[in-house]
């Protein structure tokens, strides 16, 4: 796949598009397996990205709160 420059935003949009296609059954069965596989990759990618961002943000927030002069 073309994951090399995948951003969360583009991945999410692609995922939403696949979900929409599948929901409206506008996807052909020929590529269904391919689409679902891609969707699962995208979900994993997004979740991983989100989790790592969240932990990073939590770290920063913890830092912010520890340097807070007036707790």
């Amino acid at each position: 796949m073309m994951d090399q420059i995948l951003t969360y935003e583009s991945a999410y949009q692609e995922l939403a598009e696949i979900a929409r296609e599948i929901e409206t059954e506008s996807v052909s069965v020929d590529v269904l397996a391919q689409k679902v596989k891609r969707a699962s990759e995208l979900v994993t990618f997004c979740q991983t990205k989100l989790k790592s961002t969240e932990s990073e943000v939590n770290k920063i927030i913890a830092q912010m709160e520890s340097t807070d002069p007036k707790p």
Partner: protein, 484 residues
Amino acid sequence: MANSLASSINYIRLSELSGKINAAIDTSFGKSGFWVIADITNHSFRSQKKYHHFELVEKDPDSNQLLARIAGKAWGDGATRILYFETVTGQPFTDNINVLLYVSVQYHAVYGLQLDLLDIDPNFTLGVLAQQRQATLDKLVAENPEYIKKAGDVYITKNIRLKFNAVIQRIAVISSKTSAGGEDFRHTLQHNPFGYQFYIDEYYTSVQGENNADQFLNKLLEVFYSGKPYDAVVITRGGGAQTDFLIFDNYKIGRAVARFPIPVITGIGHHKNESIADLMANTQTKTPTKAAEFIIAHNKRYADDMLSLQHNIVIKSQQLFSRHFQSLTSLNSLVVNHGRNMLTGKKDELTRINRSVIHVTRTVVFRKKTVLVNLSSQMLSGPKIIIYNRLNDIRQLVGSLKTFEVQYLRNKIGYLGHFRSVIKMMSPENILSKGFAIVKSRNKITSNPDDIAIGNDIDIILSGTQIKSTVKQKSRYDGSDFNL
């Protein structure tokens, strides 16, 4: 030499002279009093005895030179009136105030000429100060239109339009070295409960007395030319009489404050009136402590904003994450469920199509088979039936032929009989028997009368008998015997 002269000159003792002066003054002035306008100087007050000592002076308004000076005192009722004056005006009775006094003139052998203060008019002092102040304000507006504008009752200056930096930390303080106000200000700032740091530069000057205006102005310029990035300039002064604030009603100082490029905060320490410097300054507070509290509150607001921003960031980012996780999960389950449903649907569809293909195929084959069977049975039975039918036809034909033959013959016999009887009827014998006769001329049967002429011999054959006769007469016959 003086001693020797003394005996030859008439003299009186000093006390006698003072007695005469006293008598003269008493005669001239008596107990009557005068309303007098004067400035107060060298004032002192003994609070135990409630005894005021001061001097009344009048200065030339242009040159500032003394025109008159008389000592004065107030006690008893006079001291009570001063207390009332202070209460009404908010203006302590002290040096350098211009007042309207009701005095009596007294002379004392030891203390000399004195004015006894009987009453003091508070309205006069208020009026004088207010007039001066208003005149200065009008002049400021008139002469500095680009820096000072009046909008209704409010003055808008360049300094007022300045915005404070987010945090006020570098502060230039203009105060008196000995002023308690400056100390209050520093103390309040440095002991703020939030641990905020301040960098305070002191600019000492005398902040009392209008005469020090130039010195004060120079300090303000010093702040400006220091080039330091001050967040604010604070002018403090603690306590004192209203006239002590006259420096803050000074035109030059008012103008300098209005034009100053750094926000000015005043904490001049008075409660009754606003000085012109207060009006021109970005922010006015009542006391140095209040000025410090204002700065702390300003910084606190910034800190609070920061904290609430931080708080918002924490909450919003958590919300954002949870929303994204949720939408990912729902998209995921949507893909999974719909994908599965879609597959199931397609599978069902396939099964259905398969089933219907089988069914339709069977039906078609059966139908074709039936048609074929029908066809073949038709093929089998058809000829037989045809032959049978033909045979039947022939049989019927034969039958009817037989029937018709007899009939035909019968008919023919009938016809023949008929014809025979007709012929029999037509036969000459029959006709002859009915009275008709055959006429022969020259042995030929004739029906034409023209063949027969009179005198000719004719044979008449009548009912089996031949009669030979000769024609005697021939005439036309019109009888109707044969008309049927």
